[in-house]
Amino acid sequence: MIRLRDVQKCYPLGERQVIACEVAQLEIADGEQVALIGRSGTGKTTLLHILAGILRPDRGEVEVAGARLDRLGESARDRHRGRHIGMVYQTFNLLQPFTALENVLLGALFGRGAGHAARERAETLLQQVGLGERLHHRPNELSVGQVQRVAICRALVNDPELILMDEPLGNQDRATGEQVLDLLLQMAAQDGKTVVMVTHDPASAARMQRTVDLATLRSSA
C-alpha cells in the first residue's frame, strides 16, 4: 500500500535549506492502522502531505495505493488523492457555507463524482454516524463531535483505500474524540482500509496496530 524510500523534503529558510522531513524507508501494508508520532517539528504533517500527494518530495520514491507519487505531476496527484485517499484534519476543515451532506458530497465531487450514487452513499454514511437528522445543518449548527463525524464521512465517501489523519483528537474533549476515533477505526477495519494517523498523543497512538516514530525513520537514513 505505502512504500517510501530515501525521501527528503526541504524548505528554504533564508539562504539555507532546512530538512523538513526525511524518511529512509517506510512500508505500510494494506489494511494496516499506523500511528506516526514524533516531537513537534519532526515533519509529521509534511510526511502526511507527501503521502497525500499535496507535496512532492525533493528526492526519493513515494508509492501510495499503486501510484508513484514522486513521478506524477500535480494534476495527476490531485486526481489520485481525490480517488484513493481520504483525509481527516485536526481542524476538520469543513466548508462553512455548505451543509453536512454537501460537505460530504464535495469530497465526492473532487473524487469519483458527485452523482446520484455518491449522494446515496453520503446519506448512508451520515446516518451510520448518527447524523441522519442533521444532513442539512451547516457546520456552525453542529457540535464539535458532529463536525468531526461529518469530516470522517467526507473522508470515506469515495471508498478510498487509504485514510490519512492529522491530529484528529487535537481540538476536542478526550471522550468525544476517542469515541469518534473508535468509530472511524471500526469503519475502516470493516472495509480493510489502511489508516495512517499523525499524532503526538501516545494514548491515541496506542489505539493503532503499529506506531512509527519519525525520529527513528530519520536516524536510520
Binding site: 504533517t45 502531505h49 490531485d78 488523492r81 481525490g82 483525509m87 457555507p97 464535495l106 465531487l109 473532487f110
Partner: protein
C-alpha cells in the same frame, strides 16, 4: 453537486457584494439594450414610413427636417402656414409642366384629440383614394372615407374670402360667413386612435386646439365629428392620426382671421396687412403631400422649389436617412458610454472577487486537499463571475423591457416611435452571452490567483 453549485453558493454567501456588483451589470445591460431598442425601432419606424417619390411641400422658413417630421411622422408642431396657391399650381401643373405630379394633397395641422394628443390632420378625401402608403392606398378596417374634395375646398375658400374681404373693406352687410355643412362633420381615424379611445364607426370626437395643460388649450365642440371610417393598422404614424375634412378646420371657431396668409408689402405693418384684400388662393395650409410622376418630375420639382419664395419641397428619402445618421451618431456615443459602464462593472467584478481571495485561501486549500485540480478552482471562481454577469444581464434585459412598457406612451408622444416592449430580439441573446463572457473574463484574474493557492501552507493555518 456540480462545480457551478459551488460558485452559486459562494455568491449567496457574499450576498451584499453580489447584489452591488450585479446592480452595475444590470445598469450597463439595460442601458445598452435600451439604446439598441430605441435605435432599431426608430430606424424601423422612420425607414418604414418613406417610399416612392413622395415629397412634402411646406413653408419656406421651416427646416426640411421639421417639415418631414411633422407631416409624415406627427412629431412636433406644424412649422407654419403657406398659401393654398402652391397646391393649386401643383395640381394644375403650373409649377412646371414637365414636373407633373400624380397628386398634391393639402393639409392643415394644429389641433388634436384627447389627452393622448392624437394629431388632427385636416385634408381632402384624396388621402384615402389617391395617397399611397407603401405603394397602396390606405385601407379601412371598418367604414369608409369622409367626403370633402378639392372642389369643396375651393368653393369654401371663395366664400371665406368673400366674407373676409367684406369685413376688411368695412361693408355694411358683408357676405355671410359660410356655415359648416353637416355632411363635412366626419372623421377617419387611425387604428391605434380607435383602440386607445375605444372609438368605432359612428362614434363622435371633438378636436381641441393646442395640447392639454398648455396655454391656449381649448375644445372645439362646434367641430365635433362622427367617425365614418377606421383605417387598417399600418404600424406607422398614420395609426395615431385623426383625419378631418379641411373644411371643418377652416370653419372651426377661432381660426377665422388666421386662415389667410397675407404678404405684408414693403413699408406696411401687420395692422395694415389685415386690411388688404384676400383671395381663396391665400388660404393658409401647413403642408402638401406630393407624389411626382417619375424620377425626372422629382428632379424638376426640386429645381423649381429651389427658387420659389413662398414654399419649399422636402424629400423624406433625403431627410430621414440623414436624420437617422444623426440619431445613429448619438446612439454610437451612448453605446460607447454603455460599454464603458460595462467595463467599469467588469472591473468591479474583478475587484469584488479578487478582494475575497485572501480570506478564501483556506477554503480553496481544503478543496484542493479533497482532490480539486487547479483548473477546477479556476472554473469555480470564473463561474462566480460568469453567473453574476448572467444574472445581471438577464435582469438588465428585464429592466429594459419594463422601461419600454412604462415609457412607451411618453416616447411615442415625444418622438413618434412606438416601443414594442414585448418583442424579443435575437441580439438580446448575443448581448446576454456577451455580457456573461465579459464577466467571466473579469473573473479570470482572481481565478488565476485562487488556483495558485498553496495547499500545504494554507491547510496548516488555524483560523
Amino acid at each position: 453537486m456540480r462545480l457551478w453549485s459551488i460558485s452559486l453558493r459562494n455568491l449567496r454567501v457574499r450576498m451584499v457584494a453580489t447584489v452591488l456588483t450585479t446592480a452595475s451589470i444590470v445598469v450597463a445591460t439595460a442601458l445598452y439594450a435600451a439604446i439598441l431598442v430605441m435605435a432599431e425601432q426608430t430606424e424601423q419606424r422612420y425607414k418604414g414610413s418613406i417610399g416612392g417619390y413622395q415629397a412634402v411641400v411646406g413653408p419656406k422658413d421651416a427646416s426640411q427636417l421639421e417639415l418631414v417630421l411633422n407631416t409624415i411622422f406627427n412629431v412636433g408642431d406644424a412649422p407654419g402656414l403657406f398659401p393654398l396657391q402652391v397646391a393649386i399650381e401643383l395640381r394644375e401643373g403650373k409649377v412646371s409642366r414637365r414636373g407633373q405630379v400624380r397628386y398634391a394633397i393639402p393639409q392643415a395641422r394644429g389641433d388634436s384629440v384627447s389627452r393622448h394628443n392624437f394629431p388632427v390632420v385636416a385634408t381632402l378625401d384624396e388621402m384615402f383614394s389617391r395617397y399611397e402608403w407603401q405603394q397602396a392606398p390606405l385601407s379601412f378596417a371598418a367604414g369608409g372615407p369622409f367626403r370633402f374634395g378639392f372642389d369643396d375646398l375651393m368653393a369654401l375658400a371663395e366664400a371665406l374670402a368673400a366674407h373676409e374681404n367684406g369685413l376688411r373693406t368695412g361693408e355694411a352687410t358683408p357676405p355671410p360667413r359660410p356655415l359648416m355643412r353637416p355632411e363635412w362633420r366626419q372623421a377617419v381615424i387611425g387604428s391605434r386612435v380607435a383602440r386607445t379611445l375605444g372609438l368605432s364607426v359612428g362614434s363622435s370626437i371633438t378636436p381641441v386646439h393646442g395640447k392639454m395643460g398648455e396655454f391656449g388649450y381649448h375644445e372645439h365642440p362646434e367641430a365635433a365629428c362622427e367617425v365614418t371610417g377606421v383605417l387598417a393598422p399600418t404600424n406607422s404614424p398614420i395609426d395615431t392620426t385623426i383625419f378631418l375634412p379641411l373644411g371643418v378646420h377652416l370653419l372651426i371657431g377661432g381660426h377665422e382671421g388666421g386662415v389667410f396668409v397675407v404678404e405684408i408689402p414693403p413699408g406696411k405693418n401687420p395692422d395694415d396687412a389685415r386690411k388688404l384684400p384676400v383671395s381663396a388662393a391665400r388660404i393658409g395650409i401647413t403642408a402638401i403631400v406630393v407624389d411626382p410622376k417619375d424620377h425626372l418630375g422629382a428632379r424638376i420639382l426640386r429645381t423649381e422649389f429651389g427658387t420659389r419664395p413662398d414654399a419649399q419641397v422636402a424629400w423624406p428619402q433625403d431627410v430621414v436617412p440623414k436624420f437617422l445618421r444623426d440619431i445613429g451618431n448619438a446612439a454610437d456615443v451612448l453605446t460607447v458610454i454603455a460599454w464603458l459602464v460595462l467595463l467599469v462593472a467588469s472591473v468591479s467584478i474583478t475587484v469584488a472577487i479578487y478582494n475575497t481571495m485572501n480570506e478564501r485561501r483556506r477554503e480553496i486549500a481544503i478543496m484542493r486537499s479533497l482532490g480539486a485540480r487547479r483548473l477546477q478552482i479556476l472554473v469555480v471562481i470564473t463561474g462566480e463571475a460568469a453567473l453574476l454577469s448572467l444574472f445581471g444581464a438577464l435582469l438588465g434585459l428585464c429592466v429594459c423591457h419594463l422601461a419600454a412598457w412604462l415609457l412607451r406612451a411618453t416616447v411615442e408622444d415625444m418622438t413618434g416611435v412606438y416601443l414594442d416592449w414585448l418583442q424579443f430580439r435575437w441580439w438580446e441573446l448575443w448581448l446576454l452571452l456577451g455580457v456573461t463572457g465579459v464577466g467571466a473574463g473579469a473573473g479570470l484574474l482572481p481565478a488565476v490567483k485562487g488556483s495558485m493557492t498553496q495547499v500545504a501552507d494554507n491547510l496548516a493555518q488555524n483560523y
